[in-house]
């Protein structure tokens, strides 16, 4: 295929990238920072990214007396000779054109740079396909290049294998992207999903910001997705599978620490929960709520707890107790059944309905996830004993909106989500964290995110955070800053061969059709009759 030429390499270094002088008939305005381009060396093809552009003049006198109103001939003569542009290009992958082996293996990491006057080209469709692969299986088309109409694929199997993150300002399309990815993951069976849906936006039809309706995952994917709700009233109106009830006995001291901010508790007060836990075990909260002032004083004396702090804790938790989804005592059976379904490859969405305050969201997500993790840990231990493939736990990905609430530096060390981000890859459980402000997330957690997808971010701190531990941050910074405010994303990390800017695929009728076509081909195996979700 004919590629169109942009310029020639004139300078550069392996570490910092190459300088390319643009051809005289090329304008910087036709290019974008972050654009995927190709350098054709003598024996290698380099798949690269534009990291910066500069305007140059050959004679500094031109700067002090620029020819304003230059007649056409003058302007034409100056362009590309006295005034010209250079672009900085960073090779990301290379293909050895001399070896047949590389044809088969595909592009490899860059080990060298081309010589002077190697030509720079716009990437062709072929180049995109060589690097990002063809659509199909776990190779999921997330979007298209900004200027072309061909699919850019993300490797879903690699995506779910490690925790990952979706970031961007409000309205950049994070939740829509999550739907796209979840649809792909469900139909390609790359992982089972547990989705904490704080704003009840994933399961059912939802109106977009521009006013039309889009389909929910339950409607799109049918019985492969189970819907749980915390809100009994909403559950009755909507097509919900299970209404989730949480028992006071399931709330642990750890949960209270997590909620310290939401409940406005001091550190001492939160610590009191720990003392109660030591004394009463599972039953601590019920005991605390039932204590008379005398009993409370007695407890403080015997345990060394601070009386004022204990009283404050009791008062605060009595407010919590009134939540509709809480009951005295509940068994874990609902959550355990959900884990069984996840273990069979189904996905579950937990809607919060009207209980969508941060407190409810954090409390319930934490309790559910803690239980899920315990069960997955057991599954893994069983698998390690039996070594039978049938016992290997299916990959589980937990989708978490407003992730900073669980993963900010103050709480990330204590919450179950922090643990999962740091170590649960071992147990085949990973997170998909979604957040507007990556700077609010513990850097240690950020550095664990294998794949990061980000829409426009404007705050310096957020940009820094999202690029934590990424090589070549300085030029990715440029691509990030040049994203559109909507439906444009920068993909980087484990699930893509090289960072790339894409126009996000539209979540629309055409997509539903593609998914349903792919989905039918990979219908779930028959579920056993006792399965409570069999339809």
């Amino acid at each position: 295929m004919e590629r169109s030429r942009l310029g020639v390499v004139t300078d550069g270094a392996f570490n910092t990238g190459l300088t390319v002088r643009l051809d005289a008939d090329r304008s910087t305005e036709d290019l974008r920072v972050g654009e995927f381009v190709v350098i054709e060396g003598k024996s290698n093809r380099y798949f690269s990214m534009i990291s910066d552009m500069q305007l140059r003049v050959s004679d500094p006198r031109l700067l002090s007396s620029p020819p304003d109103d230059a007649p056409p001939l003058v302007a034409h003569a100056l362009a590309g000779t006295s005034t010209y542009a250079t672009v900085e290009v960073k090779p990301m992958l290379m293909l050895d054109l001399t070896s047949d082996l590389d044809e088969l293996r595909g592009p490899q990491s860059v080990r060298t740079i081309p010589m002077h006057f190697a030509a720079l080209y716009e990437a062709s469709e072929m180049d995109f396909a060589t690097v990002f692969g063809k659509e199909g299986g776990t190779n999921f088309a997330v979007g298209t290049p900004v200027t072309m109409d061909i699919p850019i694929c993300l490797r879903l199997d690699r995506f779910v294998e490690r925790s990952n993150g979706i970031f961007g300002q409000s309205g950049t399309g994070k939740s829509f992207l999550a739907r796209l990815l979840l649809s792909g993951i469900v139909t390609s069976r790359a992982a089972a999903n547990l989705i904490f849906d704080m704003h009840s936006e994933y399961a059912f039809d939802k109106q977009t910001e521009d006013g039309h309706w889009v389909r929910g995952l339950r409607e799109l994917l049918g019985s492969q997705v189970l819907v749980y709700s915390l809100d009994a009233e909403a559950a009755a109106r909507r097509n919900v599978d299970v209404t989730l009830i949480i028992g006071l006995n399931q709330i642990e001291a750890e949960d209270i620490m997590l909620l310290a901010d939401e409940l406005d508790l001091t550190a001492t007060t939160a610590a009191t929960a720990g003392l109660l836990g030591d004394q009463y075990g599972d039953d601590w909260l019920r005991q605390l709520l039932a204590m008379s002032p005398d009993e409370l004083a007695q407890f403080c004396q015997s345990s060394g707890a601070h009386p004022e702090a204990t009283k404050a804790l009791q008062r605060k938790l009595r407010e919590v107790q009134r939540r509709g989804y809480l009951t005295e005592k509940a068994s874990f059976s609902l959550i355990d059944e959900m884990v069984t379904a996840l273990g069979k490859g189904r996905s579950a969405i937990l809607e919060f309905g009207r209980h969508d305050s941060p407190l409810d969201y954090m409390l319930v997500a934490n309790i559910v996830t803690r239980r899920v993790r315990r069960l997955y840990q057991q599954k893994m231990e069983r698998f390690e004993e039996t070594k039978a493939e049938a016992d290997r736990p299916l990959q589980l990905m937990i989708t978490l909106e407003e992730a900073h609430k669980f993963l900010n530096p103050t709480v990330a060390r204590q919450t179950i989500f922090g643990t999962i981000a740091r170590e649960m890859r071992k147990y085949n459980v990973t997170l998909m964290v979604i957040d507007q402000r990556p700077s609010g997330i513990d850097p240690e957690v950020m550095s664990q995110l294998g794949t990061r997808i980000t829409g426009l971010l404007t705050e310096e701190r957020d940009i820094d955070a999202v690029l934590t531990g990424v090589s070549g941050r300085s030029f990715l910074r440029g691509s990030l800053a040049s994203l559109d405010t909507r439906q444009q994303l920068l993909l980087m990390g484990h699930a893509v061969p090289m960072p790339i800017t894409v126009r996000t695929r539209s979540y629309d009728k055409e997509f539903y059709q593609d998914i349903q076509r792919g989905g039918r081909a990979q219908e779930l195996p028959d579920v056993v009759a006792t399965d409570i979700w069999a339809e």
């Binding site: 005289a24 050959s58 004679d59 006198r61 031109l62 007396s65 020819p67 007649p71 001939l73 003058v74 034409h76 003569a77 100056l78 590309g80 000779t81 006295s82």
Partner: protein
């Protein structure tokens, strides 16, 4: 057409006495000297001068209230014999059996050989390539090089029938060669910008 005879010849340039008093070929125009069978040496006119035949003598005023300009010559036909017009050309290449070489010729042209004006076809053939600009820009005559090149570009442009593409190419080539000398470049570019 023969327009002069070589009276001084060097590796880089040659001086000819013109056949027509006061009318040396245009600054920047192409001339050629036939130096052998099918071999022409090409030059670009870089200087013209009219003066006394006797180098020691300066011309004196001859006009009166009634008689001036052309009339002076009509009234004093002997002037044709005491004055002469000379022009200098820079050697810029050779065309040998149709093949254009833009570089200094290996030999200076022979003294007393004829200098010819170039036809439009000859100019067109020679100026397909623009490497000779570099030779012009290295000239060390009295005419500033950017003026010389501008004059040449204007002449060729006209000779090639106002070929716009060629003019643009020439402007770019000049801009490229003078990219480190903005002031000269702008002088040149404004000088060749078509006026229409």
């Amino acid at each position: 057409m023969r327009i002069g005879e070589i009276i001084e010849s060097t590796s880089t340039h040659f001086v000819a006495e013109g056949f027509e008093l006061n009318h040396p070929p245009a600054l920047g125009s192409f001339v050629r000297v036939c130096v052998g069978e099918g071999c022409d040496l090409y030059g670009v006119v870089c200087y013209g001068e009219t003066g006394s035949l006797d180098p020691g003598r300066r011309a004196v005023r001859r006009s009166t209230e009634e008689s001036f300009d052309d009339q002076i010559y009509r009234e004093s036909p002997q002037l044709e014999h005491v004055l002469r017009t000379e022009f200098t050309s820079l050697a810029v290449g050779v065309i040998e059996r149709g093949e254009v070489l833009q570089c200094l010729p290996s030999q200076p042209p022979p003294l007393h050989f004829s200098v010819h004006g170039c036809s439009a076809d000859e100019t067109t053939l020679f100026t397909e390539n623009l490497h000779y600009f570099r030779i012009l820009l290295r000239a060390s005559g009295l005419v500033p090089v950017e003026q010389l090149l501008a004059a040449n570009i204007r002449q060729v442009h006209r000779g090639r029938g106002e070929d716009k593409d060629w003019l643009q190419r020439a402007a770019r080539e000049a801009a490229n060669l003078l990219k480190y000398d903005y002031d000269r470049l702008m002088t040149l570019l404004y000088a060749i910008e078509p006026t229409s």
